[in-house]
């Protein structure tokens, strides 16, 4: 990728979180405004400086608490005057909104774009019997009663869900359980290896006051936990939470005036070459992470050995293993042994992973929490959980399954 690439003209200059927790019982717009104002202030800006806005996934997607307020709601709440705006759920996973903002800024459509992701799933699920239909949400295949023939009033589903729900494959835990089981078959993955992602996340979360789960977790606890969908147990599945994460993406010529070191977007992984399907993807052990990661490395002179810290999507533990291989930190099928005793991925290891606890212990901020932590680490502002030594290059991944995106960030040195 040449240095004239529009994406390299974009940097993350501001980061912000709202209060994060389980069942906060605060409105999603309330949390969103809190995070956005924090990010704007962090960038040293005023809301009048914001001329771009993007969010994932926009309104009306998924079950309760999944989507957060749409961009029009937030624009109106802050009375933003926008040169560019965007929101949606399709694209290279959750970070699609950040990539879109970087492209808009790089192309000159906006100078300072605000990007946010808000979830209130913990509060929304508090009143429900079980934690609903997972991952991608109900989307366009939503329920209707009757419609299409007899069935005794059982809800009927169209779209992609019709190929899963009749079999009780109702959650992303089921769909990704298939991925994990296939990895056991092909690569000899063990539960003890899988556990390392959860245990590493929990160790790191103990140093993160904002993490939702901070109590110590040991291998025996993990192995004794109840199964959700084999081989995935309770600790392999991330925790619904309430919270909002926001970023300011700025044109690099303005970024150098920012109060904190800008995090420049070196490259993004956006490819999707296999079939966009939970069960028809050609290689069930990699799925879309393979394509996203490959395209990211095609767009930069940097390589895996240049990465100082990794924030890899762990909505389910096995996805972090998939990303380790896809991003080339180890060979295909070798991620189990790569993480085996947890030392490589520990904060003091050769590839510190999910240093704020990831989603398994930090809470399901749905990709954006991982990007936030990458910026904190690149700035050197992580306090007691700061990785030792050089921290100039970070990789972040979002998603897994049939949707995946990745991003390589470098601390801008002017």
């Amino acid at each position: 990728m040449s240095d004239t690439s529009p994406l390299r003209r974009a940097a993350i200059t501001g980061i912000g979180h709202s209060q994060i927790g389980r069942r906060l019982r605060r409105g999603d717009l309330d949390l969103t405004v809190e995070a956005c104002l924090a990010a704007i202030a962090d960038a040293g800006l005023d809301r009048d400086d914001i001329d771009g806005l993007a969010t994932y996934p926009g309104t009306g997607i998924g079950m309760g608490g999944f989507s957060g307020p749409g961009s029009p709601e937030l624009q109106d709440a802050l009375r933003l005057q926008l040169s560019w705006h965007d929101g949606g759920a399709e694209g290279p996973a959750q970070m699609r909104a950040v990539i879109a903002a970087a492209m808009a800024v790089g192309c000159g459509l906006a100078r300072h774009a605000l990007v946010y992701r808000t979830v209130t799933e913990a509060t929304a699920q508090a009143g429900r019997a079980s934690a609903g239909i997972g991952g991608s949400g109900l989307g366009s295949g939503g329920p209707s009663l009757g419609g299409g023939g007899s069935g005794g009033g059982v809800p009927r589903f169209g779209g992609f869900l019709q190929w899963f729900l009749p079999f009780g494959a109702v959650s992303a835990a089921n769909w990704i359980g298939l991925v994990a089981q296939r990895r056991i078959h092909e690569f000899g993955l063990t539960r003890t290896q899988l556990a390392q992602i959860a245990l590493n996340g929990r160790r790191n979360a103990t140093h993160n006051p904002g993490a939702v789960y901070r109590e110590p977790l040991c291998l025996d606890d993990y192995l004794a936990a109840r199964m959700i969908s084999t081989p995935l147990c309770l600790y392999d599945c991330d925790a619904p939470c309430d919270g909002s994460t926001a970023f300011v993406v700025s044109a690099v010529e303005t970024a150098r005036d920012a109060p904190h070191a800008p995090c420049r977007i070196e490259a993004v992984g956006t490819a999707l070459r296999g079939r966009p399907s939970w069960d028809q993807f050609d290689d069930m052990t990699t799925m879309a992470a393979r394509d996203a990661a490959a395209s990211m490395w095609e767009r930069t002179d940097l390589g895996p050995s240049d990465v100082d810290v990794a924030q890899l999507y762990d909505g389910f533990s096995v996805l972090a293993l998939v990303w380790l291989e896809a991003l080339g930190f180890c060979g295909r099928g070798e991620s189990g042994s790569f993480v085996e005793d947890g030392t490589r991925i520990a904060r003091e290891g050769t590839l510190p992973l999910n240093t704020a606890g990831g989603q398994l212990s930090g809470g399901r901020l749905h990709g954006f929490g991982l990007l936030h932590e990458a910026c904190v680490q690149l700035r050197g502002e992580a306090g007691e959980r700061q990785v030792p030594g050089r921290c100039e290059v970070a990789v972040v991944s979002n998603g897994g399954g049939p949707l995946a995106g990745s991003m390589l960030l470098v601390r801008d040195t002017g």
């Binding site: 209707s144 007899s150 079999f167 359980g177 298939l178 991925v179 069960d279 028809q280």
Partner: protein, 138 residues
């Protein structure tokens, strides 16, 4: 013993595109859309063959045999009252990249093995016949 599936089977909403698949099991035969020109099967159904773009697409029977590509035993009560059941991913014998998510039934937990031969059977629910798989030759 594992259950055959969830306590309640949520059902597909039938339309002109998927009706052949979900109702075809009434005669015990599994069908997929097949291209009349390049002869490839495709799933889920689409108006044109994704391989050669022909519009000559029609449902055709398959043998109902396949192999287990992956599986997961569901324990979580997403659908209340469900005992543990097997969500299976089956590769259909006629074409290596033709797969179906389904349930594996009549198979003890310790006998489930990726690569095992399976065959289709159907469970009816009104107008819909849901294809399930069991170990071949039971």
């Amino acid at each position: 013993m594992l259950a055959d599936g969830p306590s309640l089977r949520l059902l597909p909403r039938l339309d002109d595109c998927n009706r052949f698949f979900w109702t075809g099991g009434a005669d015990g035969v599994l069908r997929f859309l097949r291209c009349g020109e390049c002869r490839r099967f495709t799933h889920p159904p689409v108006p044109r063959c994704p391989a050669c773009l022909s519009r000559d697409m029609a449902p055709e029977p398959v043998s109902g045999r396949g192999t287990l590509h992956s599986f997961t035993v569901n324990h979580q009560q997403w659908i209340p009252g469900s005992d543990p059941y097997v969500v299976a991913l089956v590769t259909i014998a006629e074409q290596a990249d033709l797969r179906l998510t389904t349930n594996l039934i009549d198979c003890p937990a310790d006998a489930i093995a990726i690569g095992m031969a399976v065959e289709v059977t159907f469970v009816g629910n009104g107008d819909v016949h849901i294809p399930l798989f069991r170990p071949a030759g039971l």
